[in-house]
Symmetry: C2
Subunit: 341 residues, 2 copies
DNA sequence: CGATCTCGTTAAAACGTTTTACAGGCGTCG
DNA sequence: CGACGCCTGTAAAACGTTTTAACGAGATCG
């Protein structure tokens, strides 16, 4: 019924109007309930809609109203440590929960993986708002989103911008990891962070250094380009293990680095966790499938994603909301990489 | 520069035209390279664009051209067995790879999780095409997509429709699983399938029955509503294990069912794999994080997703492509749930 | 009873872009 | 030299919807 053989022109609101004997404006009002229309008229309109199989042109509507009914989720974490086809990570976990939450508010979620030409999404498709995951201080997506003033909520940390943020408690995360390493018996441990300007690295580093000073431990900080990914971590950590035989613990906020470190330990012929304990922050596929499985933090990303969507809705509506919303407290998940089963 | 204090009206193509002293049409042609414009004119236009900070209105463009520059990925697998915030699955794995591939072609990917109001995405946002994952014969999304004649590529099986398809080799999948179970020593095994009309269930069932007949094995098929998810599988499989003490193997195309079955075996006080071997089809988080880890198939979903995107591009362009494209052959991943380490 | 208000409806404008049809200039060919 | 074609540019239409301003009819009020 709805489409005739020769791929006819789609039926428009004026066709409906004509069929129902009313004006296009009335049809619009009837469908969107923007103004009251008399019951009898409404009925005629609805019947015409049904008979003609009218379905509103989303593109035209979006054009006219300026509302896109969709939001995007970005992450500037480079591919080697973020999502990859087989290594679903942070981004995808948030995307899954966010998509569901967004849909609940009538918004579609467009998924923007960390590839070089990702910014073109902002040029070629219209979105009402964006989620930005753990931006660095000089985040490229952050720049563009701000320039276009697209309502944006950041997840983790605002990266120094004034965008609203679902704030991770980085100090608490660091403390959980540090304390657990000590409790597990480590006395001299290595911190592996990324070299980007992300809050997670900075916070982890300062908490680590503070603790080192307090306990008199000699600090070892390895700073790694995130592009190097897991293999890079293996290589660099192996070097350190050779130079600093006293190291008996490794912590990293980046799961790819931790899992790379695990490799390095194995290659060095040391045992996990007996000789060296390894702990990471993000409990993703890498942590759970490592051998031995990695102790990590439950970041409760599904709840974080929902909070972010809720906050973004406010922002899009032009309402005023809190500059930062605290994320739920992370919880330690103890696994065999730090304690003997 | 780009936005003045009082949140001024966005600069449009006519503003640029005025500033450059040309017509809007020329600006359009200059930007899109639809026609040649003289070098000197082009230069004036580009300068004006830069100075005014013009950025084309994606919504208007999409409205005018009818191209949305985005595609959607749907799965009608109910939430209990498909993606969930913490159980990233089939859908998300394909989405991740598809998003990357799509972006490569200048298309954004909108992620449509299996929630009740998912169909509204088709009403409220415009898309050029869709990916539909393993549709059942009476798939609700399939219906709508066909009605609206939105170019669609199905993944796995076309669900009886005439949509182009990246075809899984279900018989081969079944054979790999059946043969491996036998090789691992199982002699009387149980097949757990969903009750929906999906090709995977039908193919698995018929291969199973054929093999049973050929080898003289008494067949046990458990058909389960997909909505029941993992817990439902545990309950029902437990019952069967009680009634049929001879069962020494369990296979299921659905990872949630297999992992539920694993629970049932444990509850029954039987050992995996010594007493009962368990094998599943989809190698997702559930399979890899189960205890013991589940033997499964590598479906090479990243390559499947890329194939699907390539095929969809053709379909959107109105070109003619193959009705079915074979997916790469699956490969068995042997894990402790079927053989002793 | 005239003025004012409310209610349902409508005509027309507006959104920003691409595209179509045309115009003028200039070179080329017959 | 006229006809024709090519090249660069432009005016105007078109896309389908929402929104604004206005309109007529009836009700209400002074």
């Amino acid at each position: 019924m709805t489409n005739d053989p020769m791929r006819l022109k789609r039926v428009s609101i004026t066709d409906v109007a004509k069929a129902a004997g009313v004006s296009p404006a009335t049809v619009s009002n009837a469908l969107n309930k923007t103004r009251h229309v008399e019951a009898e008229t409404l009925d005629r309109v609805m019947r015409a809609v049904r008979e003609l199989g009218y379905v509103p042109n989303a593109a035209a509507r979006r054009f006219r109203t300026g509302r896109a009914n969709s939001i995007a989720v970005f992450s500037s974490m480079p591919a080697p440590v973020a999502a990859g086809p087989s290594k679903l990570g942070f981004l995808m976990e948030i995307a899954a929960a966010a998509a569901e939450a967004a849909l609940h508010h009538g918004l579609a979620l467009v998924l923007v993986p960390p590839v070089p030409n990702a910014a073109q999404v902002l040029r070629d498709t219209s979105i009402d708002g964006a989620l930005l995951i753990e931006p660095s201080a000089d985040d490229p997506f952050g720049q563009i989103l701000r320039d276009r003033n697209i309502p944006t909520v950041t997840i983790g940390d605002s990266g120094g911008s004034d965008m609203p943020c679902i704030q991770f408690d980085y100090p608490l995360m660091a403390r959980l990891m540090l304390d657990h390493l000590r409790d597990a018996g480590a006395r001299e441990f290595l911190l592996v962070v990324g070299s980007s300007k992300r809050a997670t690295h900075a916070a982890m580093r300062s908490a680590y250094l503070a603790q080192a000073e307090a306990t008199g431990m000699t600090p070892h900080v390895l700073e790694l380009d995130e592009e190097l990914g897991e293999a890079g971590a293996t290589r660099m950590v192996a070097e350190i293990l050779r130079d600093r035989p006293g190291v008996d613990g490794i912590m990293s906020p980046v799961d790819a680095f931790a899992s790379g470190a695990l490799q390095a330990v194995r290659l060095a012929g040391r045992r996990v966790p007996e000789d060296i304990r390894v702990i990471t922050r993000y409990d993703g596929a890498r942590a759970r499938e490592a051998n031995p499985q990695l102790t990590a933090l439950n970041l409760k990303l599904d709840r974080v994603a929902r909070l972010a969507i809720d906050r973004l809705i406010i922002e899009i509506a032009g309402g005023v909301g809190p500059a930062t919303t605290p994320a739920p407290a992370p919880a330690l998940i103890v696994r065999p990489s730090t304690v003997i089963a």
